[in-house]
C-alpha cells in the first residue's frame, strides 16, 4: 500500500494575541488512517485540529505562521477560500450540535448550499450517509422528527452523517465522545474505525484508551509542542519520550 500524506505540516506556529499556543509543529498525516491527538487540557491539540479546516479564522487574535499543505494545496495561502477548504475537510464537534431542524434537513443543508435540489438524489444521499453513520435503522421512520429529540449518541452520529453527506476527504473529530456514555462512545469508535476506509480521520481525544483502540498514529501534545508523534502501538508500548510515558501511564494530566 502506498501511503500518501493528506497533510504535510511544517514549522507551524500559532498565536492568540501575544500568547503562543503552538510551537514549531511538524507532522505528516497519512491518508485512510486514524490519527489521534492526545495531551493534557490547554496543550493546543484542539487549536491544531481547527487549523486544519481554518475554523480558527473566527478568532480575531488568531495568527499563524508555517505551512499546512493539504494534498498539494497550501491551506493558508492568500488565494485560498476557507469555504472551499471546509467542504473537503469536515468536522464533528465536542458537543453534538445538530441544527434545530428535522433529521432530513440536517443532512440536506450541506447539499442545498451547493445547489443540489433534486429530491431523488437528496433522498439517496440522506439514506447513504445515515447508513454509513450506522444510524439509518434507528431513524428511518422519523426523518421528519426534530434532530434534537434523539439521544446524545444518536445526535452525534447524525452530525457524523451530516459531515459525510457532503463527501469530504477528511473528517476532523474534536473530542467527539466527551459528552457521551460508554455505550454511545463504543458505537462512535466502531464507526470511526469503519470510516477510515473511505476517509482520513484526525481525532482529538482526552481518553487515552480511545486513542489506543482506534488510531493508527498518535501525536502527544505538551504545552503547545508536539512532544512525540509515532505509530500508536509504539507510543503506547515503547514511547521514546519520558514525558509521553509519564502521561500515558497516568503519572500526571
Amino acid at each position: 500500500m502506498v501511503e500518501n500524506n493528506v497533510f504535510d505540516i511544517s514549522a507551524l506556529n500559532v498565536w492568540y494575541g501575544e500568547k503562543q499556543v503552538l510551537k514549531d509543529i511538524n507532522i505528516e498525516i497519512k491518508a485512510n488512517c486514524v490519527t489521534a491527538l492526545i495531551g493534557p487540557s490547554g496543550c493546543g491539540k484542539s487549536t491544531f485540529l481547527r487549523c486544519l479546516n481554518r475554523m480558527n479564522d473566527f478568532i480575531p487574535e488568531f495568527h499563524l505562521e508555517g505551512k499546512i499543505i493539504n494534498n498539494g494545496t497550501d491551506l493558508y495561502a492568500q488565494k485560498i477560500d476557507p469555504i472551499e477548504i471546509r467542504r473537503d475537510i469536515g468536522m464533528v464537534f465536542q458537543k453534538p450540535n445538530p441544527f434545530p431542524k428535522s433529521v432530513y434537513k440536517n443532512i440536506t443543508f450541506g447539499l442545498n448550499i451547493f445547489g443540489v435540489k433534486d429530491t431523488e438524489k437528496l433522498d439517496k444521499i440522506v439514506e447513504d450517509s445515515l447508513r454509513k453513520a450506522a444510524l439509518w435503522d434507528e431513524v428511518k421512520d422519523d426523518l421528519n422528527r426534530s434532530a434534537l429529540s434523539f439521544s446524545g449518541g444518536q445526535q452525534q452520529r447524525l452530525c457524523i452523517a451530516r459531515a459525510i453527506a457532503v463527501n469530504p476527504k477528511v473528517i476532523l473529530f474534536d473530542e467527539p465522545c466527551s459528552a457521551l456514555d460508554p455505550i454511545a462512545t463504543g458505537k462512535i469508535e466502531d464507526l470511526i474505525t469503519e470510516l477510515k476506509k473511505d476517509y482520513t480521520v484526525v481525532i482529538v481525544t482526552h481518553n487515552m484508551q480511545q486513542a489506543a483502540r482506534i488510531s493508527d498514529f498518535t501525536g502527544f501534545f505538551m504545552l503547545g509542542e508536539l512532544a512525540e508523534f509515532d505509530k500508536t502501538k509504539k507510543i503506547f508500548t515503547d514511547p521514546s519520550n519520558k514525558v509521553t510515558e509519564d502521561y500515558i501511564t497516568g503519572r500526571f494530566g
Binding site: 473566527f58 471546509r86 469536515g90 450541506g110 442545498n112 422528527r145 457532503v166
Partner: protein, 287 residues
C-alpha cells in the same frame, strides 16, 4: 450554626417574600383601578356608531372613525418601514461589523437613542420629513418619525436575539462549507426570529400609543375624512383622546374613556399576534 442565626435567616427570608409580594400588589392594584375606572366611564359608550362616526362638536354624535383608521394606517406603515430597517441594521452590527471602537460607539449611541424623549423625535421629524423632504403633515411623515423612534429598540432586540443563538450552530454550519450569509439566513435567523418578532411588535405597541411626536409634527386633532394615501393628513387615537379630555363637556370625557378602551384592545391584539407568531416560528425550528 447556632439556632439564633438560623431563625434570624428564616425571618429575613419571610420578610423579603412579603416585601416583594407587596410590590406586586401595588402594581396590580394601580393597573386594576385604572382599568375599572376607564371601563365604568367608557364601556357603555362603545357602539358601532362610536366606531363609524367622524368626530363632532356634540359628544353624543362624535366617533373615532378617522382616528381608528389613522392608527391602523400608522401602524402598518411604521411596521413596513421599521422592521426591515431594524432587522438589517441588527444583522449587520451583530454578524458582519468588525468589533472595534467605532462599532462600540455606534452600539452605545443606539442604546442611548432608545432613551431619548419621544418629543425630540417629533421635532426631528418636523424638521426632516415635514419641512426638508416636503411630506407635509402626512401619514408618511408620522410613520417615518415613529420609525425613527422605535428603530433603536428593534435593532437592539435583533442583536440580542442573534447573540442568544448558540455558537455551536454557527460552527456546524461553517464546518459544512456554508458562507456567512447562508449560515445567517438558514440557521441563525430562524432560531432568532421569534425573539426578533416579539421585540418588534412590542416596539410597535409602544409606537401606536405615542402622542407627543405626532403632535410635534403637526398631526391634526379634528379630521372629518379618511386618508386616501400616505400623503394625506391624519389623526390617531391617542391624539383624539388628548383632544377630547381637554374639552370642558363631560360627554367628551366619556368619549375619551371609550377611545382608550379601543386603543387598549388594539395593543392587546398586537401582543396576541406577537405570541402567535412566536409560537409559529418556534414550531418551524424543531428544538
Amino acid at each position: 450554626m447556632s439556632k439564633g442565626v438560623l431563625s434570624k435567616n428564616k425571618r429575613n427570608s419571610k420578610v423579603f417574600k412579603i416585601l416583594s409580594l407587596t410590590a406586586v400588589f401595588i402594581g396590580f392594584i394601580a393597573l386594576g383601578i385604572m382599568l375599572v375606572d376607564i371601563f365604568i366611564d367608557g364601556a357603555g359608550r362603545i357602539s358601532w356608531d362610536f366606531l363609524s362616526n367622524f368626530p363632532s362638536r356634540r359628544p353624543g354624535r362624535a366617533g373615532i372613525l378617522s382616528a381608528l383608521v389613522g392608527t391602523l394606517w400608522m401602524m402598518s406603515l411604521t411596521a413596513a418601514f421599521s422592521f426591515p430597517l431594524g432587522l438589517g441594521a441588527g444583522i449587520y452590527l451583530e454578524e458582519y461589523a468588525r468589533k472595534n471602537w467605532f462599532t462600540k460607539l455606534v452600539e452605545i449611541n443606539i442604546s442611548n437613542l432608545a432613551g431619548v424623549p419621544s418629543i425630540i423625535y417629533g421635532l426631528l421629524g418636523l424638521g426632516i420629513f415635514v419641512r426638508v423632504c416636503g411630506f407635509e403633515r402626512s401619514l408618511l411623515s408620522g410613520a417615518l418619525t415613529l420609525t425613527l423612534l422605535i428603530l433603536p429598540i428593534i435593532i437592539t432586540t435583533t442583536r440580542e436575539s442573534l447573540k442568544a443563538v448558540p455558537k455551536s450552530l454557527r460552527e456546524a454550519s461553517y464546518a459544512l462549507g456554508a458562507t456567512q450569509w447562508q449560515t445567517v439566513y438558514s440557521q441563525i435567523l430562524p432560531v432568532a426570529m421569534p425573539g426578533i418578532l416579539t421585540g418588534t411588535i412590542l416596539a410597535l405597541s409602544r409606537a401606536i400609543g405615542e402622542t407627543a411626536p405626532l403632535i410635534a409634527i403637526g398631526a391634526l386633532t379634528y379630521i372629518a375624512f379618511l386618508p386616501h394615501g400616505v400623503f394625506d393628513p391624519f389623526t390617531v387615537l391617542p391624539i383624539q383622546v388628548f383632544n377630547w379630555i381637554s374639552r370642558p363637556q363631560h360627554g367628551f370625557a366619556i368619549n375619551a374613556a371609550a377611545a382608550i378602551i379601543i386603543l387598549l384592545l388594539i395593543t392587546l391584539m398586537m401582543n396576541s399576534v406577537a405570541i402567535y407568531l412566536r409560537r409559529k416560528f418556534q414550531r418551524r425550528v424543531k428544538w
